[in-house]
């Protein structure tokens, strides 16, 4: 059940370029799973290997126990919603949706009822006779989804499903996709470079970078406990500090010395050797700003800085604060002025503080 779709040590190179580098993943049946990463991270190549358009150089791909690595795309229990939808322009909406069933020589009656039912699901019944060119972007996408889902694939692949839509429609289709996923219960694999999209669509996300999977986790875990600075900065914003572990405390806390900040205490993940150089990460919205030094106790990580710049976003205000040679991003909501917090002006001297649980040790990357 848990290993319904298995990507087993899959690699793929194009010339000298290692597009997918020894990736292993498992996806559960019915799960909504995202491959997230910047362009060129290998997510699309991985998707094309699952669909059967590319053959892996090494490794295996299994769907519900069946090795599909060597199967051509037309014989895989997998269907794809393409980024540009790839609807057949010479066929009507109805015939587009019927295409897959006709290819598998289903009885005429079954084709008719399946296509009608699927068009109803994506609310396009009244457009059945139109050509794709006569539809709006959102409608075209629903045709693409219907055309894939009508074949009852075991896995539905969606390549940047919302990228071609404008912002308003994107938010609408986001809900729609979640609804469709709930209704059909098929395993959905999204490929996207948009972290917001991945967060709101998926049960779990695999963050990819340079052909490798950096971290596979639920959206909450990825955001709250990123394991690498790449993941931390790709999903949301983050402040990074480099320091040296100086003291280990109970329950996985470690005290880290950062030049120019004193010694913030942060939570540690994994085994850290004494005197090891570490990377620390704090999300901007986890930092509180006060005029006076916060009383020690609850918030032990506190340091002083000068407000360099501020940008008002409506829902929140973003501050850039200088502390020594560090530039720190902090984010405040106006409703949080109570409780000793302030509304600092440019050039003001403020105290920044955050709870030890809000600071994370992330993997130090060679490039960083």
């Amino acid at each position: 059940m848990d290993d319904f779709l298995v990507i087993d040590h899959v690699s793929k190179s194009f010339g000298a370029q290692r597009a997918v580098d020894d990736v292993s993943l498992t996806v559960a049946q019915g799960e909504a799973f995202s491959l997230l990463g910047p362009s060129g991270c290998g997510k699309t190549t991985l998707l094309r290997m699952i669909a059967g358009f590319e053959r892996p150089d090494a490794g295996r791909i299994l769907v519900s126990g069946q090795d599909i690595t060597a199967l051509p795309p037309e014989r895989r229990p997998v269907n794809t919603v393409f980024q540009n939808y790839a609807l057949f322009p010479h066929l009507s909406v109805w015939d587009n949706v019927a295409f897959g069933l006709r290819m598998s020589h289903r009885p005429r009656e079954e084709i008719r009822s399946s296509v009608d039912r699927m068009l109803e699901l994506v609310r396009l019944s009244e457009h059945a006779r139109k050509r794709p060119a006569q539809l709006s972007g959102g409608q075209r996408q629903r045709v693409a989804i219907a055309r894939a889902l009508v074949n009852r694939p075991q896995v539905l692949l969606l390549d940047e499903p919302l990228a071609a839509l404008d912002l308003k429609l994107r938010q609408h289709m986001l809900m729609e996709l979640n609804t469709i996923h709930e209704q059909v219960g098929t395993t959905f694999i999204y490929v996207t470079h948009d972290q917001g999209e991945a967060m709101s669509l998926s049960d779990r996300i695999a963050v990819m970078n340079a052909g490798k999977v950096e971290q596979v986790d639920s959206p909450v875990h990825l955001y709250e406990t990123p394991r690498s600075s790449f993941v931390a900065s790709f999903i949301g914003d983050a402040n990074f500090f480099t320091g040296v572990a100086v003291e280990f405390q109970h329950e996985g806390y470690v005290r880290v010395l950062v030049d120019g900040l004193g010694s913030p205490l942060v939570m540690s993940h994994g085994v850290i050797a004494p005197n090891q150089t570490l990377r620390l990460m704090v999300r901007p919205e986890k930092i509180s700003l006060t005029l006076a030094r916060p009383s020690s106790g609850e918030r032990v990580n506190a340091f002083r800085g000068i407000v360099e710049d501020m940008v008002y976003f409506g829902s929140h205000t973003r501050y850039r604060i200088r502390a020594g040679e560090h530039r720190i991003q902090a984010q405040l909501q106006r409703s949080r002025f109570s409780g000793g917090e302030i509304d600092p002006a440019k050039g003001a001297e403020v105290w920044m503080s955050f709870h030890p649980d809000e600071g994370r040790v992330v993997r130090l990357e060679a490039a960083a």
Binding site: P73, E74, N84, A86, F88, F99, M103, A148
Partner: protein
């Protein structure tokens, strides 16, 4: 109102030169040809005064029927063979890399650099009983020693296909270049094997290119008379041969005009019907 009318006016102005060209060099001569068919011939090879329907009666000579039939089937067969050869060719060309694509395109166009008659003559030497191709095939025992490759209706077809193939490839290539090959991935993804994807998605996607290629090849074939004369036998004449004969040997312009006009109508009327049917069909869709 005037702002909306202006671009339309400008479009008319832009097309005016080509319309004038078409009018002077195509429409008016075509009308003249048809008009000439109703004039009596004079003995000097010109057109006499007055009007007559006698030529039209002459043209209905049943002896023309087999020639007309041969012209139509040779043209039809050439069109089908050219399309069948050009489709996979353009498929590969459109998928090839930029450099290879340009080389292939150049190779398609290169035959045009040498004179049409010389190319036909080259075929004549190639297929001549003492020619290199015939000798090679006999040496390889692929054909019997007494085989005659020239002066055969098949030879006419072969050379017709050879000369018309570029006219099929170029419009098809123009269409194939614009084809979204992602659609073939989509077809494969939905369960179509490579051949079915080709037949059910690629070919319909090239519909416009196919129509222009077919019209181009078919119409060019209809008027051919040099090829049957040079590589064909005495019984392989096409209607073009007869028209040429009426003009050059018999010096009977009205008779030649009646044949040419008849051929022209035989092509234009079905095409007109097809265009109207398409317009009508498209309205039905909406």
């Amino acid at each position: 109102m005037s702002a909306a009318a202006r671009p339309a006016t400008r479009q008319w102005l832009i097309t005016l030169p080509s319309l004038a060209w078409l009018g002077v060099f195509f429409v008016i001569p075509a009308i003249l040809v048809i008009v000439t068919a109703f004039r009596p011939a004079d003995l000097q090879g010109g057109v006499g005064p007055g009007w007559t329907l006698a030529t039209l009666r002459e043209v209905q000579d049943p002896a023309y029927l087999p020639i007309l039939w041969r012209t139509l089937w040779l043209s039809g067969a050439t069109t089908l063979i050219c399309l069948a050869l050009a489709l996979p060719m353009t498929f590969q060309m459109a998928r090839a890399g930029q450099r290879l694509r340009q080389v292939l395109l150049l190779l398609v166009v290169i035959p045009f650099l040498s004179n049409f008659l010389i190319r036909i003559f080259a075929w004549k030497s190639l297929l001549h009983p003492e020619g290199p191709l015939t000798k090679l095939l006999i040496t390889l025992h692929l054909i019997p020693e007494d085989a005659v490759l020239l002066h055969h209706v098949g030879t006419v077809l072969l050379v017709l296909v050879y000369t018309q193939l570029p006219f099929a490839i170029l419009p098809l290539y123009a269409a194939a270049e614009k084809f979204d090959f992602g659609l073939l991935d989509a077809a494969r993804d939905l369960g179509a094997g490579p051949w079915r994807a080709f037949a059910q998605v690629f070919i319909p996607g090239l519909r416009r290119g196919l129509i222009s290629a077919a019209v181009m090849v078919f119409v060019c074939c209809l008027g051919q008379y040099v090829i049957p004369q040079m590589v064909g036998g005495a019984s392989d004449e096409m209607l073009g041969s007869k028209i040429a004969q009426r003009v050059f040997s018999d010096r009977n312009l009205p008779h030649a005009s009646a044949l040419a006009g008849g051929l022209m109508l035989a092509v234009l009327v079905p095409m007109l019907v097809m265009v109207l049917w398409q317009q009508f069909g498209r309205k039905e869709e909406r």
